[in-house]
Each structure stands twice: as C-alpha cells, then as structure tokens.
Point group: C2
Chain length 260, copies 2
DNA sequence: GCGAAGCGTATCATATAATAATACTTGATA
DNA sequence: TATCAAGTATTATTATATGATACGCTTCGC
C-alpha cells in the first residue's frame, strides 16, 4: 500500500476517515460492500474499519439491514466545532436579531478554500431542506456569499479566484461563464454587497455582505436568501440590504481581537 | 498495546478518533502535548495521528501557534448526518412554522442512549450561546425533552431510567433527587408533556412534547425554551403548549413509514 | 424447492506499516 | 546567553493491520 508520505502518516486512520466521508446527501446509509465501493478499499479493510467505527460509536449499525449510518457522534463533533470557531459566537446574537427584523432566512457563510460553507443558518420561512442544513459546501463563485467575500480581495487574488476556482451547474441557470461572474463580483466591489439569482435553486435570490477581517480581507459573509416570487432586487436593496450591511459591519470590526 | 478486542478492531483508527473527541466546549484548540494529555496517548503517537488528521483536512493547524483546531470538515460530517436522519427532514418545516407562531426558541431533541441530543435548534430570541448550538448532549433526566420521552416508556423502563440514568448538576437548582424527577415524569405521563425549570441555566423554563414512534415509544421530542422572566407555567400551558403539542403530533404519526 | 449470487462474518499466515524511544530544532523566558 | 518546553525528525523493532480465503445466511430466479 503506497499511501501518501511516510512514517508520520497513519494510513489506517486516513482510511477510516474515507469511510466517514463516504456518506453524503445521496448516500445516507451504506452496506459493507457499498462502503467498500465508495471508499475504494477492499472488503476486508472496510470490515475492520467499519467495525472499529461502530464500536467507537461513530457509526450506527442497523441490526436488521446491517447497514451503517452516521451516528449522533457526528453532531457532537459539530458541537465542538462551534465552540472553536470564534466568529460564530460573535455573530449568532446579531444574526438572530437580523432574522427577526427582516423575517427572512439568514445565513453565515465562511470561506473554505475555494468554496463557502454555511456555518449557521436561521430559516424563517419554509424552504427546501438543503437550505436549512449547516455544513453545506458550495463553490464560492456560484454564491452571493462567495462573491461578496472575493470582492474584498486584492485585484490579483480576485482575478485568480474568478479564473481558477471551481464551478458546477446546480440549476439550468447557474452561471458558468466566468466573465459574467467577474461582472457580478465587480459590482460587489463597487457596492459592498453581492446579489445573485437562480444559482443554487430557481427563483431564489441571495444577497450577501462580507465580514471583513483586520487585514481588510473578508473570510466570511452574512447572507440572506429570499424568494423571487415575493421579492425584487430593488426591494431587497431597500429593505433588507441596510440591515444586512449593518449586521455584517457589526460583526466585522470587533473580530480583530479574536482572529489568529 | 492491548487494546480492545482483536483482529477486526483497528487500534490506530480508534486512537485517531480519540484525538477528535479531545475537543469540546472548553478545549477549542489544542497543542500537540495538550492533545497527548487529553487523549492519554504518547507524544509520538499524537504526532503521527494529528499529522494524519491535518493532512486529511480534519484538523486545522495554526501556522504560528502550531495548535490544532476542528476544521470545516466537522461541519460537513454534520451535513451528512442530517441527510441520514429521517426525522429531521420530516420535522424541520413544522418546527419553522412553530417557531414563527410562538416567537420563542424551538428545539428538536433525540434520545441518544441515556442522554438527549439537540439535533435542530431555531433560536428566536437572543440566548446564551450554548442554547443555539446543535449537537449538545445532556442527561435525559435533567431536560424537559428527556422527561417527555421517558414518559412514553413502559412503567418498568421508565423506572429503570429514573433510577439508573446519569445526572449532573449544571445550575445550583438542577434537580439531583430522583424522587423529584419521578414526580415530574409522572406528571408528564398524565399530561402528555414535560415542563422543567432552572435545569440547565437559571430562569429558564423548558416545555417538551414527545414525538411518538409507531410502537408508542418516543425517540425524540419537540422542545421550547423560554425565560422565566417573561413567562409563567400557566401562560406557557395556555399559549405555547397547544401548538407545541400539535407540532409534535404532526411529526409523530407520519413518521411510521420511515423509521426502521 | 433447488442452485446461484450477493453479502456479512470469521480465520490466519505474512510482512507491511505503526510504534515509541531518542535525538534534533526552535523559540520563549529570565 | 542559558534553560526549558514544545514541535519535529529519524530509526530499529515488532506488534499490528493486512487481504486472501473460506464459511454461512438470505434472497432471488428458475
């Protein structure tokens, strides 16, 4: 087994993690062989690793179907994550206020390499399930939050992101043309916020304001998703944006003490 | 190293997991030796394991302090968890409606052995941070949600839970007397809901209704936390309880198709 | 009701891959 | 500048994980 690196890389551990990552929105419970297929490991290895994960409480095993599923321990990890993320603690009360004020879904997104990840979500209206789940990771270029963040980068970094970061079609109208995205991000540079439509789901409009770090560069954004059926961009700018902006600003400057 | 079991138990993987679990609310970032102390492993082992976790993206490493922290991957695991939990998908839209109606914090709690774990939280008022974080695991006996769930058990199971499940003092007024808890649970048996005060934090009142499975036994509860400064038990029963009950019922019967 | 296929489980000889001791490097403290 | 604590690198040793093989149980299709 010619895994990565040597000596201070524990292959068995890495393989176990592969098993955990085999689960996603379309693979919610997996049998032994399914796990083997998805992880690329052989049956014996999966047998041992999955068994270990089960004993350690990281995987639940249905006694009748013998299928494995994520356990509550996965949520406990999220719990630990939240305490370690300075920004969330800072932001949460302000996000609650904002969501109460505007009565629409409010999200906190953080940059995660070339993606954004929703770290906190406060749904106010019924929405599709995926819009309520934390931990969703989406290409930064395709989201209002990502564009808002990128808009705070230096021109070079901005261009690099626009040119090289990944894109993926989610709806028929997801923008895959980088020139169009550049235009959108340039607007965000001018206006201090980003707006996008129909990117993740049709008839959805997203607005986002960057949370700017001490170095002037954003690492996160406050974002709001609304339905195009009840909102226009103009109304969003008039009614939502000011408060969204205030919230993002309120989170931004005070964070300089914490970020390291 | 005489770890548990044999042959189909991969010790290295288990040790790696110990490292992940070393992080919690009061240990948000850990150095190599701190990690060694908390996990009970020796420095060399931690070095290798932590390095592996870092390479695999499960731990962030501060380039200057060299400390490790939970990475965004921990949230991605939570994301996968949510898709695998049938109940959450079922419940979320109804919980959103409920929280909008009553304007107070609404939680979904699941039974996790002798604890409950908050699976979904919809904060409506500013609260302390811990009340907004998913994945919090609390002794079932000390929470309204846990008591509501236990109240649906058979008399024997109920008694066993009351007598043997763990308790831990969180506030000066956390009930540690099992007889008092028995009374509270018996009330819940009669009334179909549980109410508790001052258990996790002072001046907080929790109300919960069980989500009853096809076998008549609850495995989860809808819970609502309010401040004792603005609410009395009477007003809670009059204004919150009916809707809470409806929500729990709405989630309960339809779930029989899914639960396995 | 039989045979085959698919999957989960158990066993075991082998050498790979993890171990833990040791030594080196860095940087903070006094 | 000396000391200490913490992170990093190296190495010989063997324990530990490996994966091939075989067994048993269901679930099909015939």
């Amino acid at each position: 087994m010619e895994k990565k690196q040597n000596t201070l890389y524990v292959g068995s551990l890495a393989k176990g993690l592969r098993l955990l990552r085999a689960f996603d929105e379309s693979h919610t419970e997996l049998s032994l062989v399914a796990l083997a297929e998805r992880s690329g490991l052989d049956k014996s290895a999966v047998q041992r690793l999955a068994n270990t994960l089960h004993i350690e409480g990281m995987l639940d095993k249905d006694p009748v179907t013998r299928r494995f599923r994520p356990s509550h321990a996965w949520l406990e990890l999220a719990y630990a994550y939240y305490w370690s993320d300075q920004l969330v603690g800072q932001a949460i009360p302000k996000l609650i206020d904002l969501s109460q004020e505007i009565g629409e879904t409010v999200n906190l997104a953080e940059l995660s390499r070339d993606h954004i990840i929703y770290v906190s979500r406060l749904p106010c209206q019924r929405t599709y399930f995926a819009a309520t789940v934390i931990g969703r990771r989406l290409p930064a270029l395709s989201t209002s939050a990502g564009r808002a963040i990128i808009s705070t980068f230096s021109p070079e970094d901005r261009e690099e992101a626009i040119e090289t970061w990944p894109l993926k079609p989610f709806t028929a109208r997801t923008t895959l043309d980088r020139a169009t995205i550049r235009t959108s991000i340039n607007e965000a540079v001018q206006q201090g916020h980003a707006i996008s439509s129909d990117q993740m789901i049709l008839s959805e409009i997203g607005v986002a304001c960057p949370i700017i770090g001490p170095d002037g560069r954003a690492f996160a954004a406050v974002q709001c998703s609304v339905s195009a059926h009840t909102w226009t961009r103009e109304r969003i700018r008039a009614e939502i944006l000011p408060r969204l902006q205030d919230t993002a600003n309120a989170i931004s400057p005070s964070s300089q003490v914490h970020r390291r």
